[in-house]
Symmetry: C2
Subunit: 689 residues, 2 copies
């Protein structure tokens, strides 16, 4: 009988070892060596720091590690100083970040010498677009980890708390220190006491990991749940209601971070409903949280169905108020002027708002990059964005420097990323989606990090310890796995740009699912600026959106010399060419090809690139556990077919205008256009994998 039991246990353990669902993310310490941790203080955060060292130490056996909290002007905020056996910081959080840094370096084999690591941004925040019913807007990894449907939706279980803790630990390990727990399209119920009780519980789990909790709020809450007749921000009762609400929240959550607001955008209520301005609205809320040290993040993602170029609108609406916002208001600006496209130039608001704190909003969830089906490592996109030179304060005024406080005087610095996290065992839907969560944290901490370094770390941490074949030498692993897989990650975003919307094309998706191609998509009566033809402007003469002075003059919002450089097709980077210009089909490109041919080459190149990714991954099979191997292999197949569909849909649609042949040496379309259009009309909102 005993024998049977132990067999069962053996089988169970074997299953546990081999059932690799990716839930551990990049945190895979195994068989740590003994370490002696010395820390004079005690606190929940420091306890975590000590435990992490003890559970993950891979340095010299028996080392004594000192954790030292000591004021040091060279160390900023939650920064730290590390060496092989000491971590020094101004704050407990700094110690924790130092611990994770030390362990990461041990695991990846990176050199550890005495070094100070300071964060680029003070506030490194995940925005969860989680609805209170558990669904997630633009979420492709299952339901919310914070909210759920049903009669027990507000019951707090041990499972909930364990998951929140795992989430908090993962965030802390990459330096993320803030979480907005609900969708920017916010429900007024968020601010009712029963939901705030749940927020309190979440905040308690997150707090020891150095993570502040924030909430998205609905601007009309005073009228909707406060019993007031209005939500007019200049109405004293309304202001008082928000003050009382803030007090109530801070009573529950003393370190509450503040509010995130989407106002007067895509149907959300806002101050304009009462004839007031964004400044009126934001400042009223800022005053409510100010006594408690809270901030208001006010989104600049606003646009109306006007005739104006959508790319211009945020700038037009917000620039007039520069300098009129309270010092605890931060304007949260999406990286590009449209909406998280595979490639956009930076939004002209960056660097332009000189008297207002501006924070970048990135999107980690792949709303426009193939959801959780496509392999897209986004660090290169964010690196491109952060290093873009706005010239607003002379050369070198990169977006990163415009927003991290190093140029403009500002009380806060912050960066946000829209999370790709859900209840899926692997958190992000696609195993490689985890790399974007990781990369967001790393770049928020250090905005000058290179994508290559981030990918290198992530692969080593995520796949380094789990090769099935323990006899493969490290050299083999480096050459045959790390190197090609890293290159695949680094190339992955550009491949998507190529097969979806190269050369500056943008927003040519079908319908609101933002997944498949729909360059033709323009249902009757639909707002023009919600349809692809508005964006690609293809006609018999050419293709592209004229944003020069002969067109919408969006370029007037950019600083010289960018304005001139981008205004001339000859000097405009080809990656943005059709973003800023409407050009003839036979426009001569730098390659010597016509624009039409170049478009064909990009689309085809994207398809071929995905096929190469498939080859890379299939060849990596012996280095990866079966579960994750198959998971990624399956999605790469889907991506490969999607790439084909994108290429055929776009080229065959545009060909109706260009009336030119696809260069004959390129692989021919496999789909007929009418089939794709018919399939499109049958497509339901979001792709279900």
């Amino acid at each position: 009988m005993k024998k049977i039991y132990s067999s069962v246990i053996l089988i169970f353990l074997t299953l546990c070892i081999y059932a690799e669902d990716g839930h551990q993310l990049w945190l895979r310490n195994s068989s740590p060596k003994p370490v002696n941790v010395v820390c004079l203080k005690n606190s929940p955060t420091l306890t975590i720091a000590k435990q992490e060292l003890q559970n993950g130490w891979m340095g010299e056996m028996g080392t004594s590690v000192n954790l030292v909290i000591k004021a040091d002007k060279a160390i900023r905020g939650d920064g730290f100083r590390i060496s092989k056996n000491t971590i020094q910081a101004n704050t407990e959080n700094g110690i924790l970040y130092g611990v994770y840094e030390l362990l990461r370096r041990q695991q990846t084999g990176e050199a550890i010498q005495e070094e100070i690591c300071n964060p680029s941004y003070d506030r490194r925040i995940l925005n969860h677009w989680d609805n209170l019913d558990g669904s997630i807007e633009r979420g492709y990894a299952g339901q919310s980890i914070f909210w759920r449907k049903g009669s027990d939706s507000l019951t707090i279980t041990e499972t909930d708390k364990n998951l929140w803790q795992e989430y908090a630990r993962a965030n802390a390990s990459v330096g993320i220190n803030g979480s907005v727990l609900n969708n920017v399209n916010a429900s007024q119920l968020m601010l009712t006491n029963e939901y705030l009780q749940r927020v309190k519980a979440i905040a308690e789990v997150l707090r020891p990991y150095g993570i502040k909790t924030y909430l998205s709020v609905r601007f009309s809450s005073p009228a909707q749940i406060g019993g007031l007749k209005t939500s007019d921000p200049l109405n004293p009762e309304v202001a008082q209601w928000w003050k009382d609400k803030a007090k109530e929240i801070y009573n529950l959550i003393p370190d509450f971070g503040g509010f995130l607001v989407k106002a007067n955008s895509e149907g959300q209520p806002g101050p304009q409903d009462f004839g007031r301005t964004h400044a009126d609205g934001a400042n009223m809320l800022a005053d409510a949280v100010k006594p408690f040290g809270g901030i208001v993040m006010w989104r600049a993602f606003v646009y109306s169905a006007s005739d104006e170029d959508r790319a211009k609108q945020a700038y037009l609406e917000f620039m007039p108020f520069d300098g009129q916002f309270r010092d605890n208001v931060i304007i949260q600006v999406k990286n590009g002027p449209i909406d998280f496209q595979p490639r956009e130039p930076f939004s002209p608001l960056f660097g332009a708002m000189k008297k207002t704190t501006v924070m970048p909003e990135l999107q980690i969830t792949q709303e426009y990059l193939g959801h959780s089906v496509h392999l897209a490592f986004l660090a290169p996109m964010w690196e491109e964005f952060l290093q873009s030179d706005t010239y607003q304060n002379g050369p070198g005024t990169t977006v990163a420097r415009c927003t991290d406080g190093s140029i403009f005087p500002q009380k806060y610095s912050a960066i946000a990323g829209v999370a790709n996290i859900g209840l899926d065992a692997n958190w992000c839907g696609h195993h490689f989606g985890q790399s974007n969560w990781y990369a967001f944290g790393r770049l928020a901490w250090n905005s000058s990090m290179k994508s290559e370094q981030i990918a290198d770390e992530w692969i080593k941490l995520t796949f380094g310890k789990t090769t099935d074949n323990k006899d493969d030498s490290a050299i083999d692993w480096n050459l045959s796995f790390l190197s090609p897989v890293k290159q695949m990650m680094l190339d992955s975003r550009e491949a998507i740009v190529d097969f979806m919307m190269p050369l500056g094309l943008h927003h040519i998706f079908s319908a609101n699912g933002h997944y498949g191609p729909g360059p033709w998509w323009a249902p009757k009566g639909m707002r023009k600026d919600w349809t692809p033809p508005y964006y690609h402007q293809a006609d018999s003469l050419g293709i592209g959106f004229d944003r020069t002075s002969s067109g919408s003059n969006n370029l007037s919002q950019y600083k010289e010399p960018l304005r001139s450089e981008y205004s001339d097709p000859a000097t405009c980077p080809e990656a943005y060419l059709l973003w800023f210009h409407h050009l003839p089909w036979d426009y001569k490109m730098k390659s010597g090809r016509t624009l039409w041919d170049e478009l064909c080459y990009h689309y085809d190149g994207g398809v071929q690139q995905v096929r190469r990714f498939q080859q890379v991954w299939d060849q990596a099979e012996r280095f990866v556990d079966r579960d994750r191997f198959v998971h990624v292999q399956r999605r790469l197949r889907d991506q490969s077919l999607n790439a084909l569909e994108w290429k055929d849909a776009c080229l065959l649609h545009f060909q109706q205008f260009s009336r030119k042949s696809i260069p004959y040496n390129l692989e021919r379309p496999m789909y007929n256009l009418d089939y794709l259009i018919e399939k499109d009309t049958k497509r339901v909102g979001v792709y279900q994998h």
Copy 2:
């Protein structure tokens, strides 16, 4: 007013010229030169011959052409002697065939010197699998041209007669001289007087073009429509009923050709239902039509759900009766022993039945080769078959010589092709499907014709006269159109073999639609020999059907030295390898690759080949009218996707047994196996284009 009319007429004419629906087939004489035709006799057939010359003469202007009917022993049957200005024949039909030959040579630019052309087979017959309700079994080009549904189904209209005449002309132009008007799965109603009246009308239109009419008959007709209690062939009343029926038919159609019978096969009634033999049944019918010069074509396509290898059964059932059939019975044998697969070895009955007339049955309609979606020129398949050496009378006993009367004494010689003709404007669904109708006729007339020659003729006749750009020189056309398109045709069948079932694999289709891949397809309770696993026999050890002496010993039905050659995998042609052998996955092929790798290379090669066809066709655009160009382009795209699906389905299915990687330099699968299986379960019978 007149002006408006003439404008309308002009527009109408323009539309007629440019709306190219392919209805004219390979018969596209335009602007003939004057010719003087001298013929001493007069008849409907000779009138047609004269008109064709006058409408299509492209020889020297004003030539006098003599049509001479004169007995000449060098000329056999409906053969003829041609020169530049004389056509001589024993029969009126011979004159007509000579006229078409002369015109074809003028149009294709082939040399015309004095020459005798004799037919290989006396009876060159199309089998129409047309049902009396207008549907066509395995037809992919619309409804029947002979039968239709509805209350007016038996009304004979001018439209009917015009279409039948066009059909007859097309047949005569390639030497086809017989049509079986209804499905071998025959309705008993076929022999009722009202349907026979329609047959009479059809026969009257076909007759001047030298075409005899035949009917498929249902063996149980005497009981079903004759009021008899049985259809036992040895029952005198039954025999008398058939004699009376024959007389009735010959009264209506004096030159009626005879009966085609599918008996005791796939549920059809037959003599075995009454404990009688195939010989009993066939001979009884043969006696009925004998007085009128009729023949009985008795199909050897019979197999039961026995444990025996299906490939063996026709031989086992028919060989015992060799020599027992009447001299006006012909055993109609499908080219291969299974069922019109993309590649089969020849049926072992060819050459084995030495005392019985045997006729080959080919399939023109692409039941197993992608319906009317795939571009498949079948002449290479038929050439391969006709030139196969059976060794039954020593080396050189090709299938062609076994069946054309040159080796075995036989009263008749015949060949049949299952037609691919329907009401579609272009007759065959796919424009290139016409080439198979053409090729069947040409090979039936001259079984030693080369596929290359047939393709050359067909392209010149079908596409030669209609280039949009009249300035393209003939050299350009030859180099840039004729040559690549011909090569595409010649390679097309092998491409299909490669992406569907290479190396001797066969019948791994999904369900009864015989279109998409279904190597997994084996519904519970389904007859084993109707499921792909029965045919591919894939398991962990290997793949293929063992038909050697260690397996089903189907090879014992073949003559030496073939039997020995095919029994040894080392000498068995690799094209038939898995037809005759079950071999290990790592069996070493002639290329040096393992069997598994070779299989992968073939599947991938097929996919790549179809992509090359797409390139060839797209580059041909300037030489083809828009309608036919787009039609073929669309189908090649579908074929390209189908090829991908076949490759992925088969490789991923077989990979479950081989447990080997697809060679890494090959393009990876794009479909996931479970998706394809799920799609398959939703597939409805036949693909609807």
